[in-house]
């Protein structure tokens, strides 16, 4: 293409390019620079300190726990979303009026304002005034402190994440099921398959590429799940639900250590980059091969 012909195209791309530059690339490079400096909201100009921030993070010894929380939460959240989304899609596959209604209900959490819903969850799980606690008390049990118990906090957050996101997975799986050819499903029934074999031979293979997509989307959403932690546990109790994304926020805006937060952001970036690379290089290739 000649320069002359390219000009209008470049001109039209300019506003978006400027926005990307201002809001994405500049902050990104700023963060990278910050991660290797000692600036923390002070008037003094930043100084290059090499890997000092990373050494600080390692010396403080909280990174392993934070990374562990992040990965454990992501594992529970992603598996839960995949499984519940798949089960909901299989259960609501047939087009009936009731199923149409239930499909809409399953999508409601995704469409509601997240923080408002989380406040409702906080009330529901409250060990003193929550309805669950009242029910427990009625039968003489001791209500569980879902968000206050170190062993329970992270799984509880994962359950709420699944509640928020399984509708999206369900819709994608339903689309995949609608795409399977009716004759193939009839053929397998004539060949002697019951429900489980039909699922194994026809439906699950058809859903595999969708499951991969849901997996990646849910994983990225789970790694970025900030509002859950911020509203319900603030990383507690005793750091039991302190995930990487929340730790970055805490370092920057609670302890005012912008340089440390930037270094943690870089760790987070590497984690996400590794996941994306794995998807592109390993999973996509495997899917194409099959």
């Amino acid at each position: 293409m000649s320069t002359r012909a390219a000009f209008p195209g470049l001109l039209m791309a300019l506003p978006a390019a400027l926005a990307l530059l201002a809001l994405l690339y500049l902050p990104f490079f700023g963060t990278v620079l910050l991660a290797f400096s000692d600036w923390s909201f002070t008037p003094a100009p930043p100084r290059f300190v090499g890997l000092a921030n990373f050494e600080r993070i390692l010396a403080e010894g909280r990174l392993q726990g934070t990374l562990g929380n992040t990965l454990l939460f992501a594992l529970m959240a992603v598996c839960g979303t995949l499984l519940t989304g798949l089960c909901a899609a299989l259960a609501l596959e047939r087009r009936t009026v009731l199923n149409g209604l239930l499909r809409s209900v399953a999508l409601l959490p995704l469409m509601s304002a997240s923080v408002a819903m989380l406040l409702v969850w906080e009330m529901m799980l409250n060990p003193i005034v929550g309805p669950g606690a009242t029910l427990f008390a009625l039968f003489g049990g001791t209500p569980l402190h879902w968000l206050g118990e170190p062993r329970l906090a992270l799984p509880t957050l994962a359950v709420i994440f699944v509640w928020q996101n399984f509708g999206l997975a369900m819709v994608l799986f339903l689309a995949g099921l609608a795409g399977t050819e009716a004759q193939i499903r009839e053929a397998v029934r004539i060949d002697g398959a019951g429900w489980a074999d039909e699922l194994r031979i026809v439906r699950l293979p058809a859903l595999a590429p969708i499951a991969l997509f849901v997996f990646v989307v849910a994983l990225i959403r789970a790694l970025q799940a900030f509002d859950l932690v911020a509203v319900l546990t603030r990383g507690g109790p005793d750091g039991a639900s302190r995930t990487l994304i929340y730790a970055i926020f805490e370092e920057a805006f609670r302890y005012f250590r912008a340089d440390v937060a930037a270094a943690l952001s870089l760790v987070f970036f590497c984690l996400v980059a590794a996941i994306v690379l794995t998807k592109v290089l390993v999973l996509d290739r495997a899917m194409r091969g099959s």
Binding site: I184, E186, A187, V188, R189, I190, D191, G192, A193, V202
Partner: protein, 380 residues
């Protein structure tokens, strides 16, 4: 004895009546073609036999036992679909093995990962592999067994679908327009191959098609279906020589049936306008009949018969079609000339002389009417 008996089967979707009281028998080892135009209900009938559809009335029996309420997987029949319906995630080999695995292996042994760990049915598994290989050899698809359906050509997919249906030696073989997605040359070859396989395996076969050449060429008997009703069930030659009604005569005529309105005079004498036909029908005078004559049963250029003008000529190689317009009544008719017969030029005026032994008469309701030939001298 796996005789298939379809007894008074009806099917309604809402107000629409798809099948109306269909009664049909397919005897052991027979190849029966279900022929009809699209929308006549033939595929619905096949799906009812397969158990994919419940009839609104009537019954289907196989080998003396009723199939009503029996799920498809327990009916011991196999089906070949128009779209082949191969399992896209499985190789051709696994596709063919599916019906055997589902019947002979326990559930855990069928799971791809577990079956390597379980010691149990390895003997049965080897048996299955051997049968799959034998069926693949019969259909000449051994080189493609490790490919997935997406990597196979249309003809290869068709063969895999046939192998999958035949491998477990079902009591009954159902085929729903299995050749309609193939190109013409391949279709011709597969016709012969399917019949050969069916005879060799001795499996009773119900074959749905809208292609009259396929039905006449492959089947032992043909059942013609129109608007949900069975029109005629007969061997191909009988269907062609003695169509039971106007619909069957029209459906089997190529390019189309020539139809002439006839008037019945005293003594069953038949008249087409001023012409008297050398045929007598035992029918009351005053009725109107339809005379049906196929293109191949008309001769041109004789000394007598209705006069017509040649309007258009079609050369097809082994045969030619001559389109004419009758002087009397102005109807368009078509005659077929064999290769070597002299072609009249366009615009020529000539006499049309039918082969009266091949004339078919139908009453006002379209049902065939018996006729007797009388000597030509009696006509004059």
């Amino acid at each position: 004895m796996p005789d298939l008996a379809i007894r008074g089967v009806s099917k309604q979707f809402g107000r629409a009546r798809i099948l109306d009281d269909v009664t049909l028998d397919v005897v052991d080892g027979e190849f029966l073609a279900l022929l009809g135009p699209s929308g006549c209900g033939k595929t619905t009938l096949l799906r009812i036999v397969a158990g994919l559809e419940e009839p609104s009335g009537g019954e289907v029996r196989l080998g003396g036992t009723s199939l009503m309420g029996v799920p498809p997987r327990e009916r011991n029949l196999a089906m070949v679909f128009q779209s082949y319906a191969l399992y896209p995630a499985l190789t051709a080999r696994r596709n063919i093995a599916v019906p055997l695995e589902l019947r002979r292996l326990p559930f855990l042994g069928r799971l791809p990962l577990l079956r390597r760990l379980l010691p149990g049915p390895s003997g049965r598994r080897r048996e299955i592999e051997a049968e799959v290989a034998a069926m693949a050899a019969l259909l000449h698809i051994e080189p493609h067994l490790d490919r997935r359906p997406a990597q196979l050509s249309g003809g290869q997919r068709q063969r895999v679908a046939l192998a999958r249906a035949m491998v477990r030696q079902p009591l009954l073989f159902l085929m729903d327009e299995p050749l309609s997605n193939l190109d013409a040359a391949l279709r011709g070859a597969m016709r012969i191959e399917i019949v050969r396989l069916q005879r060799r395996l001795g499996v009773t076969c119900l074959y749905v098609t809208h292609d009259h050449a396929e039905a006449l060429g492959m089947a032992d008997r043909v059942a013609v279906l129109a608007e949900g009703r069975l029109q005629q069930v007969a061997p191909p030659a009988e269907l062609y020589e003695h169509p039971a009604n106007l619909f069957v005569a029209r459906f089997l005529a190529r390019p189309r049936l020539n139809e002439f309105p006839l008037h019945v005079a005293e003594g069953g004498v038949l008249r087409f306008g001023a012409h008297r036909l050398p045929l007598i029908a035992d029918i009351a005078p005053g009725a109107t009949l339809t005379l049906g004559l196929r293109a191949e049963d008309l001769a041109l250029g004789g000394p007598e018969g209705p006069a017509a003008t040649v309007e258009h000529l079609e050369h097809h190689g082994p045969e030619s079609l001559v389109h004419l317009r009758l002087e009397e009544g102005g109807a368009e008719i078509v005659a077929r000339l064999a290769r070597g017969e002299s072609m009249p030029p366009r615009g020529a005026r000539l006499h049309v002389s039918p082969d009266w032994s091949r004339a078919h008469l139908f009453d006002a309701a379209g049902q065939a009417v018996a006729t007797r030939r009388i000597a030509a001298e009696a006509v004059a």
